[in-house]
Amino acid sequence: MRLQRGQTDGRSALFTGATAAATMLIVALLAVILGNILWNGAAQVSLRFIFGGTSEGMFDPQKAGIFPMIFGTVTLVVLMTIGVVPVGVITAVYLTEYARRESVLTRVIRGAINNLAGVPSIVFGLFGLGFFVQFVGGGLDKLLYGGQLHYGKPALIWAAATMAVLTLPVVIVATEEALRAVPQGFREGSLALGATKLETIRKVVLPQALPGILTGAILAVGRGAGEVAPIMFTGAAYYLAHLPKSATDQFMHLGYHVFVLSTQSPDIERTRPILYGTVLVLLVLTSLLNLAAVLVRAGVRARLRVEHG
């Protein structure tokens, strides 16, 4: 074999260049998008814009505020998280710790979760309208209020429930991975001391898996904060004079507001600054929600590390 420089070097350099170019392209695209939003949106964002309401005029850049949308988005994400995390974690615990790995039931559940992750979000919106709003809400009304409309209409709680179903696969998959990463030796050590399975899961397995579970919650928040389709039929409102007072009220939402501004405005040129400002706030808010979750996870990791040494 001759150790010749040349051909391989050239190909290698070409390949390195191609991968670097592909990476740069993505970075550049992101920079253009973010730069565009920041450039055009920054001027619109002010304290009045963030804390103001819509009553003065929704399509007037001088008067419009988006506080109701910020409030609605944050409330929605918080409610969604409260709903999705317990259900997702319990499902993942069942699948990894209790279910027999090769049973038909386990495979069916796993398949269902994967399919759920692939369903387009607008379908979740229709599902939420049919199931949560009409079936559950309407059912409650029949049961409790003799058919009087109370729960059977689009509401914050149904939008949050729909969003929770949408993000469920993310939480389940992340939690399952976190649980599987806990060494079997910990489980055996605990069981060999006469602990029950439940004690083992609660005291040894779940604490170890907590950072991974929080990662799942972060991904769910990231996904949930940006989705609009699932809430269009289940709770988001075009315009409301007041903030939602209860979970059965409708709400305004940043993402939906972007849709409203870009399709319903009487004068799109005049509305454009509000549009940019709203998108900028949505981006920052999503980042902040993510950041908060990342900080919580970092705190848990640090605590575990102290215990690990």
């Binding site: 055996e188 050590g189 060999a192 001391l193 006469g194 040494g309």
Partner: protein
């Protein structure tokens, strides 16, 4: 035979279709240490894990025969596995302290049993660590993570954790296979001490270790018990040719 802690009768065990134990009959005597020896895959660890039913955790296994702990079949349907495991403790091949403090590790089993009094916990943790010959090394770092201890210390911590719940039998699955000679010597010394209070069953690949720490030795080959006798007899005048070949290092 009277005076037995465990009496294993005609025990057969399968992983799926693969038979791991064939017609094993064996008696474990109290306050003695019994070594299970044999080449890899001979079934000795499987047998050990039948004694506290750790094999229950593995899917698609099947047991036939009886494992009597003081004349009570541990595989009988009315047996509470949790109670069984409290009476029959286990130390694993790979030391597995929980990622908690030294103290919490030893207190784990006690808390499970409902001991909540701080002073009682402290007393029993100290007593267990002393018994495991670890107290002097860790008494100033009880609240440090168990994972800051050395490998040998971690294994002794696992022994302390197992004896804290005061079992009657201590099962040890190759407890020194991941340890250096100094740490191994300490554990072997400890096993000699622990015999006073516990019945010990130890699986080991190390023939010298079996000779040093055990009173009885059982040689397994391909899932069958080939020979069972006092350790002295097994290592000096084995009745069976295969046993002799194995303990003298001609195969295995």
């Amino acid at each position: 035979m009277d005076n037995a802690v465990f009496r294993i009768e005609q025990l057969n065990f399968w992983y799926g279709a693969k038979q791991a134990l064939c017609d094993v009959n064996l008696t474990i005597r109290p306050n003695q240490s019994t070594a299970l020896i044999g080449p890899s895959g001979c079934g000795k660890s499987t047998l050990l894990r039948c004694l506290n039913r750790m094999n229950d955790l593995i899917e698609q296994t099947r047991v036939q025969g009886r494992v009597l702990l003081h004349e009570q079949d541990v595989y009988a349907p009315e047996v509470d596995v949790i109670e069984l495991r409290k009476r029959v403790g286990m130390v694993f091949q790979k030391s597995n302290p929980f990622p908690q403090s030294v103290f919490d590790n030893v207190a784990y089993g006690l808390r499970i049993q409902g001991v909540t009094s701080r002073s009682q916990l402290a007393d029993r943790v100290e007593a267990s660590l002393r018994k495991a010959a670890l107290w002097d090394e860790v008494k100033d770092r009880l609240h440090d993570s168990a994972l800051t201890l050395s490998g040998g210390q971690q294994q002794r911590l696992c022994i302390a954790r197992a004896i804290a719940v005061e079992p009657e039998v201590l099962l040890m699955d190759e407890p020194c296979s991941a340890l250096d000679p100094v740490a191994t010597a300490k554990i072997e010394e400890l096993i000699q001490d622990l015999k006073k209070d516990y019945t010990i069953v130890i699986v080991t690949h190390n023939m010298q270790q079996a000779a040093r720490v055990s009173d009885y030795a059982a040689f397994f080959y391909l899932g069958r018990l080939i020979e069972f006798d006092t350790t002295t007899k097994i290592f000096t005048h084995p009745a069976n040719r295969q046993t002799e070949d194995y303990v003298t290092g001609r195969f295995g």
